[in-house]
Point group: C2
């Protein structure tokens, strides 16, 4: 462990130095890097290498799945093809067109004559990102790191190890071709390496932990580095009595069935007494989509086919085609249920009534609160952030889908001419505190 | 402990509810509250009560100081008078004139036709603030909490207990007179209560810890709530070879002598080979001000009177009229010394040379980086933030002096018309991601 630890420390130091140089590039230079990364993963030779590595990963995973050692859903998420690679390249190119947010002056203020304060955005430094099996995530995270001027040390799922290595090799080669130290994108390979990395709190500025809530909790417990993560995704869809049935059914199916394993999928449907038509339409559509339903007494009275929900169902993130269903006596009770059982991730209301919808939007304490659209829209790409490095259910720093903005800090720069703090005070000089136009 | 804990929990719940209502007020209503708070502490009857309580605190502290149980500097910081109270009232009134930052739309984006995303600033909820002995801090923190729509649970220094109680009573009475639940400003009185509060991670959103680094570390170790603090304040003043002697000496004395116990005071002076005139001027002024100097070999060769600095001196926050002094071979070595020994709090350069100064401003990784002014300007009031709830040396969320901005989070609100995530993709709908004007 000790030699592993010093090896990981050396790599973290190299990443830190590479990040410093990445941060010193101009925005246009970072955009050029992103374009070079896009070109790299589309080059036929690289594409063939990545897809061959991916076929090996998929074959190995399929063999494990056949023995029941791996979920079939995981195998499906693992697969890459030429179209997916082209999509990833396109994502990097789009990120290159985004405004560069590094070195932006976000406040400019004259404190007194000749004494000017600026608040300037700055990269965090080194990100450690531990992510699940989809190899697409590696490219998206590396892209966000470069756009934000941060070095990234990545560790993907074991099942995608060969795909991730091939992709990381290609991206690092692209950095090298632009005269940027490839240590800015560093790939770790084992759990022991991750443990060693989490101990480098003087070298790593932020850990992004993506995975099960158990995994996230274990990361938080073992490091002093700030951790960005979502603890859980217990998201609700609430049908107000004014909900339009067809819209409610479509939004419910979108929220539950398009990607049940995603943290922004719904786990509980709440429906108003008075929303029976919308509730009926949802039940019909969800049953047709193969969703297992677990209901409260009132829900079961109306739809006798469903199982009985227990208290535990209201706090369970199924991550599968299962949905708990509960009737409430109006908006107030729905808000109470969400406050008690929600995970502050994403909550949605279906309502034709503006007043009810706006009250829901104002009062729910969650990272994302939606009206007449499904919780699945809570996503960095869909929000226009280019991609997402993760989703945060914390309130501090970044909340919800985290893009470039969440990977930046700032510094206060003050330029003066020898002014002294003792020059100011009653019967002395006064601060002007005049905000100035920003360049 | 159990009854104490449930008592503290009940108070935290009351604060949470009060905070929710504070957050729902309009900006103008919160400004009115601040004006009522200002009026309250200036009312003659309150003023007399506060000053009487403060005289008792000061007398008790003076008795302890006489027995060597308390530092004399602490006694001096404890004192209040009518002028100080007027200054605090004026600070609250200024805060009332600041723009209200709660509920501000900081991003507005059309994702596709009829699907509009907003990012809206929101109070964190409940702040727990543990602060040192100056009773002024209570009023300033309460003011920032009200301006930002947060409830505050406060615990001040034991020595200021009577003063704090009298001030808190006055502020709570002002809330009551505006029909706001006084639980929005809650004062705790003992260490056991603080310990119980730090366990309420479902009720408290942020802990602000102000005090010694040992105290801050102990708070961090005992709570799962995010903690905002400065770990240490080892700040440097660097004299570039182009430094103007008179300016250097004035800035050095301002940085060291105006408030040696403050975290933004300098602990080390670095001077270039070539900056001898500026160095000499600094030594003369600092010695005249009674500063104990501890130098490297080169510094001592030039100023034989000073003690020899040991390796420990480069990382020590003296908090007293002591300064370590080191000669460096130019900007590069100065940057290296600061990167190795600094605490990322505040760093300053004195230079006539623009290029050197700008390089220092760009490359030093610290919350505040200054040119030709003293590190003592790193302060929320001087920065025009109204006041400061504390200073952060973390990179995430808020950095440096923390005002209202650092006490806010945000939520993502999405309003749609039944759009589905499956409507978008290759050969399907495209996101427009068009930023819209903000109201």
């Amino acid at each position: 462990v000790s030699s592993e630890s010093s090896e990981v420390r050396a790599r973290a130091e190299a990443a830190r130095n590479a990040g410093r140089r990445l941060a010193a590039l101009s925005g246009e230079e970072r955009a050029g890097l992103l374009r070079a990364m896009a070109e790299a993963i589309e080059a036929p030779s690289v594409r063939d290498r990545v897809l061959a590595a991916n076929r090996e990963d998929v074959a190995a995973a399929r063999a494990e799945a056949a023995q029941g050692m791996l979920a079939e859903a995981l195998v499906q998420r693992l697969g890459l093809d030429a179209a997916k690679l082209a999509g990833l390249a396109e994502g990097l190119r789009q990120l290159a067109t985004h405004d560069d947010l590094v070195g932006r002056i976000t406040l400019r203020r004259e404190l007194s004559e000749g004494l000017v304060l600026e608040r300037v955005s700055t990269p965090l430094g080194v990100l450690a990102v531990v992510f699940e099996s989809r190899p697409e995530a590696l490219v998206q995270i590396a892209g966000l790191a470069v756009r934000s001027g941060n070095a990234a040390i990545l560790k993907g799922g074991r099942e995608a190890a060969r795909s991730n290595q091939a992709l990381a090799d290609a991206l690092r080669e692209a950095l090298r071709s632009c005269d940027v130290d490839p240590a800015a994108i560093t790939l770790l390979s084992g759990r022991e390496e991750v443990q060693a990395l989490l101990a480098q709190d003087d070298l790593v500025d932020l850990v992004v932990a993506r995975g099960s809530s158990g995994f996230v909790a274990s990361v938080r417990a073992t490091t002093r580095i700030p951790v960005m993560s979502h603890a859980a995704g217990v998201c609700h869809l609430y049908l107000h009595e004014s909900a339009v049935p067809a819209l409610a059914a479509a939004v419910a199916v979108d929220g539950k069935c398009t990607y049940p394993a995603a943290c922004n999928s719904i786990e509980t449907l709440l429906w108003d007494r008075g929303a029976e038509p919308a509730f009926d339409a949802c039940m019909k559509a969800l049953e047709a989509a193969g969703v297992e339903l677990r209901g409260c007494t009132h829900s079961r009275a109306r739809h006798p086919g469903m199982k009985e929900a227990t208290e535990a169902d209201w706090t369970t993130e199924y991550g599968a085609l299962v949905l708990s269903v509960r009737r409430v006596e109006g908006l107030e009770e729905a808000l109470g249920h969400i406050a008690r059982h929600g995970s502050r991730h994403t909550e949605a209301i279906v309502a034709a009534d503006n007043v009810a919808a706006e009250r829901f939007l104002q009062e729910v304490d969650a990272a994302s609160v939606f009206w007449n659209v499904s919780t699945r829209f809570a996503d960095g790409y869909r929000f226009g952030l280019g991609a997402e490095v993760g989703v945060s259910t914390d309130k501090l720093h970044a909340r919800g889908p985290v893009g470039v903005d969440g990977l930046l800090s700032y510094r206060w720069l003050l330029r003066g001419q020898g002014q002294l703090t003792t020059d100011y005070g009653p019967q002395k000089g006064r601060f002007t505190h005049r905000d100035l136009p920003r360049p």
